[in-house]
Amino acid sequence: MAEEKPKGKREKVPRQEMAEQKPEDRTRNFNEVPFGYSPEQARLEASRCLQCKKPKCIDGCPVEIDIPGFIQLIHDGDFIGAARKLKEKNSLPAICGRVCPQEDQCEKVCILGKKDEPVAVGRLERFVADWERAQGEIEIPSKDPPTGKRVAVVGSGPAGLTLAGDLIKKGHAVTVFEALHKTGGVLVYGIPEFRLPKAIVQAEVDYLAKLGVEIKVDNVIGRIRTVDELFEEGYHAVFVGIGAGLPLFMGIPGENFCGIYSANEYLTRSNLMKAYLFPEYDTPIARGKNVAVFGAGNVSMDSARTALRLGAEKVRIVYRRSRVEMPARIEEIQRAEEEGVEFHLLTTPTRFFGDDNGWVTGMECIRMELGEPDESGRRRPVPIKGSEFSMECDLAVVAIGAGANPLLPNTTPGLELNKRGYIVADLETGKTTKKGVWAGGDIVTGSATVISAMGAGRQAANCIHDYLMGGGKTWP
């Protein structure tokens, strides 16, 4: 039963903090950092929600979750009901509750946040999803009758998984093709265990399999079969959600010394291949004592914190702009700082030094200052002449972003790309220039967030459904 919230008493409930591992403990393991809310805490936090008549938080959410609705159910103590409410719009709540940048979305526009701190929507979402999973009461929703239509989903990241879940429920036969040996895309190769436990991703994939989604790993589309061959095999629609999986390097001398990794390689070795468990797992990873990470996005923070957990004594983020331009979530920056990661801002490497065996030993850096804003609107970093200096390091991770992997686009005639190699697709529907092919997520927008990829998957699913039910004769 919903209790009447007495006016004026709300301020007495502060935003609930999640208990978490202490920095000195957590840098010695790969376990998740926060423990999550207790049921009491969740209800307390839920009681802070104003239940606005015109909730801004829903507009702030890329998949338009009924946020006040699920929070009210938590407040009522109906956690399973809250989970069902969430899943009406979001098929991956345990993941979004952990990795969504809520501070830029739902929580940013929360009315409570104007004078006080916003409702902890992300933490509540996470609580509800974890509760449902722990109760083993994951409901398998009913499916529409079979339509006889087949959809191929290329890539099993957040966009592809969301789309697969939506379309299987609408009665279509869905096959997901994954290039790696495990499903989840960036959720399994990129985001570390301490931020997103892999068992959670696996549970979401298992759920889709239970719904009837066919999952084919070890399938590099563009090599083992092309998009055109998928149509020949009888698929009626193809969704391309392959992410932005081409690591960018800085193009400076010495960058191919051993011990210099792309963040993709470093994180893939640790996360997907479980190199942190070497030699139980066969994949090795260099365990640097003195580590430099270039870039200041979430991937940089993940790399830096992974290095600490792999035994580094000193880990530095080296970033060419200043603190305000750092693209990482504030929470991730804070966690990295708590764990002892140092920040060297307005600094960029100009070349690497190595030993006779080809291993990196250090680098030359140069100081930067901020000039006029560039096309991204951020002030452009300009090198300060004569400010070069040396820094030692025995491991370096380049985390300056990713580009479009050309493997699939290059084998798909008729698929228009923009000049940076990303697939041209309608941002509302995901439709590409090739009949029967949709695309969404990072391969369209460039590196973005899990939730925006999920939003793109949802929109494309709606459009594909309409197309298939309309007979698929016209394009667009």
Binding site: A179, L180, H181, Y189, V217, D218, N219, V220, R223, I224, R225, G245, L246, P247, F249, G251, E255, N256, C258, G259, Y261, S262, N264, E265, T268, R269, M273, K274, F278, P279, E280, Y281, D282, T283, P284, A286, N357, G358, W359, N405, P406, L407
Partner: protein
């Protein structure tokens, strides 16, 4: 899961050949392409070259040298056993056309990679001279296959136990001295062999392609573990290769990058040998 249907050991058990059921890969694979294998749930991903395919049987043939834990583990597999993951075909196929006279040089296990490429050049109408070599007679592989795949096969052994006493490059030099109609040399083998071979063919100004085998993880262009410097540019061997113009390749860097995990590889193999005494 990918079932092994036949197994053959060669070269004093240092080299092993499997035929594996992988119909989708068999259907698409072309000479020069490779697969990535993850032997079991705790396994690493390693690239292995396909020495052939049988589209009717739906099988691929892989030949590998036992050099580390993963290849030792693979050798312990028998007919009927299953490999957890095989991903492929990967890499850009060999660009095969009728060029005239082509010399295919294979050293050690590189002969396995060379075999389908040699066959393809012959089928495309080239006059194909093949040179294969090994340290000693018992380590030589695929002699019969290479005889059939070429017009003229020369064999060398480092210790003189069979064929020409010396290196494959000695015989290559002889041929290059004798004839001026050689349009292409393809060299595949250990890095020192390829490096030396390229140095030689550069003196003769003969175009030379090599197939590189750096460390890879995903092998789909996602990680950059396999980056090699070619003509001063960084290329990803998995998607831009594995074949490159040998005269442009920075072999020094390649060999250093190949040795990046030597300590871990040894520890891993020692641990495996201890746990699985033969």
């Amino acid at each position: 899961m990918f079932k092994i249907v036949s197994k053959r050991e060669m070269a004093e058990r240092t080299v092993c050949e499997f035929d594996i059921v992988a119909p989708d890969i068999a259907r698409k694979a072309k000479p020069g392409q490779f697969v990535v294998i993850r032997a079991n749930e705790t396994g690493e991903r390693i690239p292995l070259t396909m020495a052939g395919t049988d589209t009717e049987a739906g099988t691929i043939k892989i030949i590998f040298q036992v050099v580390g834990k993963t290849t030792a583990l693979l050798r312990s597999f028998g007919e009927g056993d299953e490999i957890t993951d095989i991903i492929g075909p990967l890499g850009i196929p060999t660009h095969v056309e009728n060029l005239g006279t082509v010399i295919c040089v294979g050293g050690g296990t590189g002969v396995a990679v060379m075999y389908p490429i040699t066959k393809a050049y012959k089928e495309a109408g080239n006059h194909v001279i093949a040179i294969i070599g090994a340290r000693t007679k018992d380590l030589l592989i695929l002699e019969d296959e290479m005889t059939a795949a070429s017009h003229d096969l020369r064999v060398t052994t480092d210790d003189g136990s069979y064929g020409h006493h010396g290196f494959v490059t000695d015989v290559l030099k002889q041929i290059l001295d004798e004839r001026d109609d050689v349009t292409l040399v393809v060299g595949i083998g250990p890095v020192p062999m390829m490096k030396f071979l390229c140095k030689m063919t550069k003196e003769y100004d003969v175009k030379t392609m090599v197939s590189l085998n750096p460390i890879m993880v995903d092998a789909t262009g996602m990680c950059g573990a396999c980056r090699v410097s070619v003509g001063g540019r960084t290329r990803f061997c998995c998607v831009d290769g594995p074949e490159f113009d040998g005269h442009q390749v920075d072999f020094e860097e390649l060999v250093k990058r190949q040795r990046a995990y030597l300590t871990e590889e040894k520890a891993s193999l020692d641990r495996f040998t201890e746990q699985n005494p033969e």
